[in-house]
């Protein structure tokens, strides 16, 4: 059984988010979600905004929200270089909700020239990803 697992680490410029043994990982690739099992060929992939799910060696799921980054597999080790991210239990639900509402409201007003629509749309997807991850984790 131990043979079917691999080591995974999730790091951001500011801290180590997660480190442990995993059986499988689902990652938000920029071109779509993909799954990784133990003994995968060496891989480097760019990640987009989304949910990273790790099935741990003990069968439990660890979920986290990622704000883009890179995924590397080599020699049965996986490392995620994330621009930022949070584990599901760390997500600040209120803050995400407030951010989502604010972005939605700003986007509703189609004529306001002061709204940076790109920025607001990005803020909205970020907040929605956080909410989705928290929801999946049963919060």
């Amino acid at each position: 059984m131990a043979d079917a697992s691999f080591h995974i680490e999730v790091v951001t410029p500011e801290r180590l988010i997660y480190s442990g043994q995993a059986v499988s990982v689902t990652a938000p690739g920029r071109l779509g979600y993909f799954g990784i099992l133990a003994h995968h060929l060496p891989l480097v992939a760019e990640l987009g905004l989304g949910e990273l799910t790790i099935r741990q060696a003990d069968g439990q799921l660890a979920r986290m929200a990622l704000l883009g980054g890179f995924f590397e597999v080599s020699g049965n080790n996986a490392i995620v270089l994330a621009d930022g991210g949070e584990l599901a239990p760390e997500i600040d639900l209120n803050r995400a909700k407030v951010a989502a509402d604010r972005a939605r409201k700003a986007l509703e007003d189609l004529d306001d020239p002061n709204v940076d629509r790109e920025l607001m749309r990005a803020a909205l997807t970020r907040a929605e990803t956080r909410l989705k991850v928290a929801h999946h984790a049963g919060r």
Binding site: E9, V11, T12, P13, E14, R15, L16, G29, R30, L31, F34, L41, P42, L43, V44, A45, E46, F70, E72, S74, I79, L81, D83, G84
Partner: protein
């Protein structure tokens, strides 16, 4: 006797108060230094892996041109980024970096050089002397989030990619130990990625010299495009953290010295006060004895 007893005692009180402040500042600086060092440690895995990744992807991207990689020979329109502190009372920290940066800037062309200054001290210094300060940042502290670093990094790369500058240099202070910091000026953009040297060897051998065959998703060239800006950001983060650590280290040392000197001053002043007190007692005693003798001689 130079000073009256009361004046000396007042001076002792003042110096004692100063000593309290300097020793408090020393402790604050020590705490901040620890905080910066924690951040350096926390960020190390990312920085290390980022460097490795650029090295691994680099050899597969022979011949691609990325704006951040392409030097612009001939055209010299430099930009210098100076990282100093917001506050003084940290020994020669600000002075050293500013002096080093100024020498470098003057060699490049003095007031025609475009500057980005980080930290109030550097900003004020170069503004006052008529240098061309385009942008300045301040209040970057030990608790500033990474997003602020991003803003600064983007301003720096923006200078280069927009064509306003053909070279970007960075002046920051390397942290060696708490007691020792070294001001450093170096070229930052266009970057020579860590994989560059390996790339040259690889292209002469005809094939990337990698023992591992990676699957790239998307293609290596595109990956590198996404990687480089993040690599740059991480470098800037490193510069800022090192400068912060150096500033706090310098402040700690300076305040520690100040506390020690205050102690010396206090002990000197105490001696002076004791001498003054003793002198008054001796004088009074002499007067009493003289008076008594005069009385005895009369009687």
């Amino acid at each position: 006797m130079a000073l009256s007893l009361r004046a000396v005692r007042r001076k002792i009180r003042t110096v004692k108060n100063i000593q309290k402040i300097t020793s408090a500042m020393k402790m604050v600086a020590a705490a901040r230094l620890r905080r910066v060092q924690e951040r350096v440690t926390a960020g190390k895995p990312y920085a290390l892996k980022m460097k490795q990744l650029v090295e691994e992807v680099g050899p597969f991207t022979v011949g691609i041109d990325h704006p951040l990689l392409t030097p612009r020979p001939g055209r010299k329109n430099p930009c210098v980024v100076v990282i100093s502190g917001d506050k003084g009372l940290c020994g020669s920290f600000n002075n050293n970096i500013i002096r080093k940066a100024q020498t470098f800037i003057d060699e490049l062309g003095g007031t025609s050089v475009q500057l980005i200054t980080i930290g109030k001290k550097g900003t004020l210094y170069f503004r006052k002397r008529g240098y061309n300060v385009l942008q300045s940042f301040s209040q970057i502290g030990v608790n500033s989030p990474f997003s602020e670093v991003q803003t600064i990094a983007d301003a720096m790369t923006g200078m280069y990619t927009s064509g306003k500058a053909d070279e970007v240099h960075v002046a920051y202070t390397e942290f060696i130990t708490t007691m020792r910091q070294r001001p450093h000026v170096g070229k930052f953009l266009p970057i020579e990625p860590p994989g560059q040297t390996a790339k040259v060897e690889a292209s002469s051998a005809g094939r990337p010299a990698a023992d591992k065959e990676y699957i790239f998703e998307p293609a290596a060239a595109e990956l590198l495009k996404a990687l480089l800006p993040k690599f740059v950001r991480n470098q800037v983060y490193k510069f800022l953290l090192e400068s912060m650590a150096s500033e706090q280290g310098a402040r700690m040392t300076a305040m520690s010295n100040a506390t020690d000197s205050a102690g010396d001053v206090i002990s000197d002043l105490t001696t002076a006060a004791n001498k003054a007190r003793q002198a008054t007692i001796t004088k009074e005693l002499l007067e009493v004895v003289n008076g008594a003798e005069a009385l005895a001689a009369q009687g």
